[in-house]
Structures are given as structure tokens and as C-alpha cells.
């Protein structure tokens, strides 16, 4: 059982960028006292993602950090070095129920898309983009993307995490058009206000006990 699941395949040029952004996240989160599974490269396959996210398994308890390809109705991983969907509109209710999802991926929060369907199906929150976006191979971009993850790990509310990420994008506006472009396409969907990964997760709030073990 872990607090965070990181998904970051690496089977084409785009995912070389997004995989690199996830390098060091596991160690950072562990140093903050969290438990983490990092499904990188070939490990970001449908079987392992399903195994770690299924609601009835409760192997991932608080949040998903998803750095990969996305589209309106799918989040992609890899199998046999080729892209393959790992979370889609059919399985998102089972895989993201009672979790917070943070993506760097194209289009998953488009109108009527995966993020909306997931949140409607019980996912606590989904931070994503409404259209295709850009990535950069720079430490500053990596630091920008990390801000939301760091804020989540510190127990800030999802609204605070979003504002911290928006500020990180805005503060870097002089460095590339990408910061303004991505910022304008950023979107947070959530089932309610003032949630943190500690107040809303797959444990019963306040007890630290898995829901399936909760006394009836």
C-alpha cells in the first residue's frame, strides 16, 4: 500500500521529456515521509497500473502523478515499447475513485473528457489540460511542474495546489511562450472544495483505516 503512484512511460520522444520530469519524484516524496510506487518506462503498462490503482485492492491510497501522453478520453502508458491506454473512460471509475490525480499530459481535462468522467465517477480531483500542451527539457520547467506535487505532499488544499502551479507558470512567463500557453489550458476538476490528500483519500478520514476494514 502506498500514498502516491507515479506513472511515466518512456517509449517515444514526448515521453522522454515527461519521464525525465518525473525523475527524482519518488525520492523527494519518500524524504517527505510518503510511500511511493514509481511505474516508469515499461512498468507503466496496463497490468501494473490496474494492479496499483484498482479501488478494491487499495494499493494506492492518496494520489496519482501521471506524466505521459493524454487525449480527451485516455491516459496512455506503454506495452512492448508502444503506446497503450492505461486509464480511459471505461475504467476510470474503478481506477481513480477516491484518489487525487495530477497529470502533465494533453487534453485529459477537455470538456466531457476523461477528467470530467473520472470526477463524476468518484475521483476526488483531477488536474489536467483542456487541449494539447508543450513540455520543455529545462530544470525551470521541471520545477514548475513539481510545484503542484510538492504542495499536495505538504497537505495543501487542491485549490492552493492549483494556485501555486498557476503562479509557478506565471512567474516563468519571460522564459518561453509555453508557460503562458499551458497556463491558459490548465484546469482543475474536483468533487468539493478544501480537500487535501490527507482529508480525502481511500482511508476513512481521520482514522487512517482502510474503508473495507471500517467497522460496519
Amino acid at each position: 500500500m502506498v500514498d502516491f503512484l507515479i506513472i511515466r512511460n518512456k517509449c517515444d520522444r514526448a515521453t522522454e521529456y515527461t519521464n525525465w520530469i518525473g525523475e527524482g519524484m519518488k525520492e523527494y516524496l519518500e524524504n517527505q515521509g510518503h510511500t511511493v510506487t514509481d511505474l516508469s518506462d515499461a512498468d507503466a503498462n496496463p497490468e501494473k497500473v490496474t494492479e496499483w490503482l484498482r479501488y478494491d485492492k487499495e494499493k494506492t491510497v492518496k494520489a496519482v502523478i501521471a506524466l505521459d501522453h493524454g487525449s480527451v478520453d485516455k491516459f496512455w502508458g506503454e506495452k512492448n515499447n508502444s503506446l497503450i491506454p492505461v486509464i480511459d473512460t471505461n475504467n476510470c471509475r474503478t481506477l481513480t475513485r477516491k484518489l487525487h490525480v495530477y497529470t502533465l499530459a494533453c487534453s485529459t481535462n477537455a470538456r466531457g473528457g476523461l477528467g470530467k468522467i473520472a470526477v463524476k465517477g468518484g475521483c476526488f480531483s483531477w488536474l489536467g489540460y483542456i487541449e494539447p500542451v508543450y513540455a520543455m527539457k529545462s530544470q525551470s520547467f521541471k520545477d514548475c511542474i513539481w510545484t503542484y506535487m510538492i504542495a499536495m505532499a505538504e497537505g495543501k488544499t487542491m485549490e492552493e495546489c492549483e494556485q501555486i502551479l498557476r503562479k509557478a507558470y506565471a512567474d516563468r512567463d519571460a522564459e518561453s511562450f509555453v508557460y503562458k500557453y499551458n497556463l491558459e489550458r490548465l484546469s482543475l476538476r474536483k468533487i468539493e472544495d478544501d480537500m487535501t490528500i490527507n482529508s480525502h483519500n481511500r482511508y476513512v478520514p481521520g482514522t487512517g483505516m482502510p474503508e473495507k476494514a471500517k467497522p460496519q
Binding site: 514526448a14 521529456y17 487525449s71 512567463d173
Partner: protein, 72 residues
């Protein structure tokens, strides 16, 4: 001054002021098109010098986004 010439002028100024940022690799995560902002400027300068218009729609889209960005 034609709009494109104004954009080249603004972008040349930005590249002079941000030489390291100008060389940072960028990628569109959907199309997987890689580029640097300096590379986009070079293409625009070449277009001006040769008169051969850029027709690559993705480069034109990047130019549009750069124009919006530098226009503010």
C-alpha cells in the same frame, strides 16, 4: 512595418536577452514536434531572406503563440 517583421524584431530582442532560454528544447506532447525558440527565429529570418514562405502549419502555430506571448 509588416506584422512578421515586427515579430522577428521582437523575437530577436528576446533571444538576445535570453540566450540560454532560446536554446532549450521544447516539444508538443501530442505531435512530438521538437524545436527551440532560436530555431523558430532562424526559420523566420530564412523566410524573410529567401522569400519562400513557411507553410509548415505547426511552425505557423508556434509563431502565432509566440506573437501572442511577445505582444503583451
Amino acid at each position: 512595418m509588416p506584422e512578421k517583421e515586427k515579430l522577428i524584431e521582437k523575437l530577436e530582442k528576446w533571444v538576445d536577452e535570453h540566450p540560454e532560454d532560446a536554446d532549450i528544447p521544447h516539444i508538443n506532447l501530442t505531435t512530438q514536434r521538437e524545436f527551440t525558440i532560436r530555431g523558430i527565429l532562424d526559420q523566420m529570418i530564412q523566410e524573410r531572406a529567401t522569400g519562400i514562405a513557411i507553410v509548415d502549419e505547426e511552425v505557423l502555430e508556434i509563431e502565432t503563440q509566440i506573437e501572442k506571448w511577445l505582444g503583451e
